[in-house]
Amino acid sequence: MTRMADPLALLRTMLLIREAEMALARLFADGEVPGFIHLSVGQEAVAAGVCSALGPQDSVASTHRGHGHAIARGVALDGFFAEVLGRASGVCGGRGGSMHVADLNRGMLGANGIVGAGAPIALGAALAHRIRGTGGVAVAFFGDGALAEGALHESLNLAAIWRLPLLLVCENNGWAEFSRSDTQVAATLSAWSAAYGVPHAEVDGNDAAAVAAAAAEAVEALRRGEGPRVLEARTHRWRGHFEGDPQRYRDAEDAARAAGHDPIARSRAALLAAGVAESALHAAEAEARDAVAAAIAGARAAPAAEWADARHGAYAPAES
C-alpha cells in the first residue's frame, strides 16, 4: 500500500526551499554569496515530493540546481547557509559551496557541478545498497539538459541490466542551461526509458502531492527488487540558469507563464479546500521565514573558512 505523504509537510518543505532560495537571491544580489548559484525556484514540488518517499537509509545524488534536494533531504539549514556563504561552519567547511552541498550521513551524496554526473554515482550507491543488503534505494536527480549526456545513458543501461534499486528523476523544466532542451535532445525520456525496458512515469512536477505519490509508488517497486524506474516531472524554471543570468534567450512571456504554475500556491489552495485553517498556513510560512533568518544570522556570525584547515584536506590524515 502506497504511503500517503502529509500534504502540510510537503508544503512546509517547499516553503523552506522557497524561503531559502529567495533569501539566497537577495544575498547574492548584495554580494554576500561568493561564486555563482543556480536556483530551483518554481521546482520545489519535485524535491519535496520525491524526498518525502525516502527513508534515512536511502541515497540521493543531486545536481548544480540542488538546494531544494539538500533541504528536502533534511540537511540542516545552519550548515547549508554557512556552506553557501563559504563559512567554516558550512556542512562542507566552505570548501564546496552551492554546487557541492553534501551530507553523507543523510545519504545526500552531493550537489554536482557536472551535468549528468550524479546518475552513475547514484547507480553505485544503488549497487552498494543491493550488495550490503541495506534495503535502501538511490535517487539521481537530473535536468532535461542532462539527457544529452552519455553518462546518463550508461547508467540507465547498467541499472536495467543489474535491476538495481535506482530511481532516475528528471526535473524537466524545458531548459538546458541557455537553450530550449527540445532543440538539443532527439528522443523523449519516455521513449528512451522504453528502449532500455525501464518503466517511465510522467507527473505534474508542480503538484507536490502527485510527485510524492508517484515517487512513493516507484520507491516501493524499487524496494521490491523490480529494477530501476524513471520519473519525469514537468516543471518550470522561474529564474535564469544562474543568478544574474539576463536570460536574453528567453521571452518574458515564458518566464511569466512559469510563475503561473506555482507549486506552493497550488498546495496552499488544496490545503485550504481540504479544510486546513489559513492560520495554520500562515504559521508554516512564519516558521520557514524564521528558520531561514536564523540560519542566515548564524552563517553571518560564523567565522570565515580557514585555509589552514583546508590545506591538508585532500587526503585522509596519515596514520602515525
Partner: protein, 319 residues
C-alpha cells in the same frame, strides 16, 4: 605478475565483504589479461561483476559505491580508456573528501594497464599516469615486480582514498616470488633496487628493469649507478630520492611515458630545488619522444626508451 595481482584481489575479497570488483570481462572471462581469473567462480557474480563497455558508468558507480560503504576495485581494460572515465575519477573521486569538508573518503581502487611493447598501437599503449598524478586527491602507484604488485594492490585496497594502480602490460607475464606472508608496502615509499655510488637512476614500472640493465652496462665501464624504484608516483618518496642523490650527486629519471611534462619533470624540478647543493651534474630525463605510440614493431622499438638510452644519460650527467 598477474598471479600476484590475482592473489591480492582474492585475499582482499576473502577478508573484507565490502570489497567488490567491477570491470569489463573480469568475471566469466577472467579479465583481458587474466588478472581476475577464477575470482567470479569463487566469490560470485555479485561481488565480481562483469560490466558493459561503459567506462564512465564503471568509474562513477565505483565512486557512488565507495561513498555508500563498499570498497570497489574497478578495472579499466587499457589505461588509454581512462579518458572515458575522467569525470568520475577527476571531478568526483578525487574531490569528494576535500570538497565535502572531510566527511568521508572515497576508498576505491582503479586498476589499469599502461605501456607498450605489444604493438598495440596508439590507443592501447599509452602511459598517462602523469595526468592522474597532477590531480590532488588521487594516489598513483606503479609496481615493477610481482611482489610489489601484490603488496601495493593490498595497500591500495586498504587505503581510505582513491588509488590508481597502474600495471605495466609488458610485465604481466613476469615471474617472481611473492612471499607467503608478504610485508606490507606503504604507498609513497621507494626501494633501492641496486646500490651504487656514482649516479642515481630513478625509475618506475618497466623502466626499473631498463634502469637495472643500464646499471649493468655501466658497471662494465666502471660506473656504479644506483637504481631507485619509485613504486609510488603520487605521493612519491622525495626523501629517498634526495638521500640517494646526496650520496651520488648525479640524477637521471627514466620512464616509459612521454618525457615532456611527465613524472620525471616533477622529480627533476623538486631535486633542482631541494637537492640543489648536492648536484654535480645536470638532472636528465629519459622518456618517450613527443609523439603517439606507433604500431609497427620497428617503429615502437625506436620509440620506447631502453637501457642504452638510460646508460647514455648517466654517462652524460657524469661528463
Amino acid at each position: 605478475m598477474v598471479q600476484a595481482i590475482n592473489r591480492a584481489l582474492a585475499e582482499a575479497l576473502a577478508e573484507d565483504p565490502a570489497v567488490i570488483l567491477l570491470g569489463e570481462d573480469i568475471g566469466a572471462a577472467g579479465g583481458p589479461f587474466g588478472a581476475t581469473r577464477g575470482l567470479q567462480q569463487r566469490f560470485g557474480p555479485d561481488r565480481v561483476r562483469d560490466t558493459p563497455i561503459s567506462e564512465a558508468a564503471i568509474m562513477g558507480a565505483a565512486v557512488g559505491a565507495a561513498l555508500t560503504g563498499l570498497r570497489p576495485v574497478a578495472e579499466i581494460m587499457f589505461m588509454d580508456f581512462v579518458t572515458l572515465a575522467m569525470d568520475a575519477l577527476v571531478n568526483q573521486a578525487a574531490k569528494a573528501r576535500f570538497m565535502f569538508g572531510g566527511q568521508r573518503g572515497v576508498p576505491l581502487v582503479l586498476r589499469t594497464p599502461h605501456g607498450g611493447g605489444l604493438s598495440a598501437g596508439p590507443q592501447h599503449s599509452q602511459c598517462l599516469e602523469a595526468w592522474l598524478c597532477h590531480v590532488p586527491g588521487l594516489k598513483v602507484v606503479c609496481p615493477a615486480t610481482p611482489a610489489d604488485a601484490y603488496a601495493l594492490l593490498r595497500s591500495a585496497i586498504a587505503d581510505p582514498d582513491p588509488v590508481v594502480v597502474v600495471e605495466n602490460k609488458a610485465l604481466y607475464a613476469m615471474k617472481g616470488e611473492v612471499p607467503d606472508a608478504p610485508e606490507p608496502i606503504p604507498i609513497g615509499r621507494a626501494r633501492i633496487v641496486r646500490p651504487g655510488r656514482d649516479a642515481t637512476i630513478v625509475a618506475y614500472g618497466a623502466a626499473v628493469h631498463w634502469a637495472t640493465d643500464a646499471a649493468s652496462l655501466l658497471a662494465a665501464e666502471g660506473i656504479e649507478a644506483e637504481v631507485l624504484d619509485l613504486r609510488s608516483l603520487q605521493p612519491w618518496d622525495e626523501a629517498a630520492v634526495l638521500e640517494s642523490l646526496s650520496r651520488t650527486h648525479r640524477l637521471v629519471v627514466a620512464h616509459e611515458a612521454v618525457e615532456a611534462f611527465g613524472v620525471g619533470a616533477e622529480i627533476a624540478a623538486r631535486m633542482a630545488d631541494a637537492g640543489f647543493d648536492e648536484l654535480d651534474g645536470p638532472i636528465l630525463r629519459v622518456g618517450a619522444p613527443f609523439t603517439p605510440v606507433p604500431f609497427a614493431r620497428e617503429l615502437e622499438a625506436a620509440y620506447r626508451p631502453d637501457a642504452a638510452r638510460i646508460a647514455a644519460a648517466v654517462r652524460r650527467t657524469l661528463d
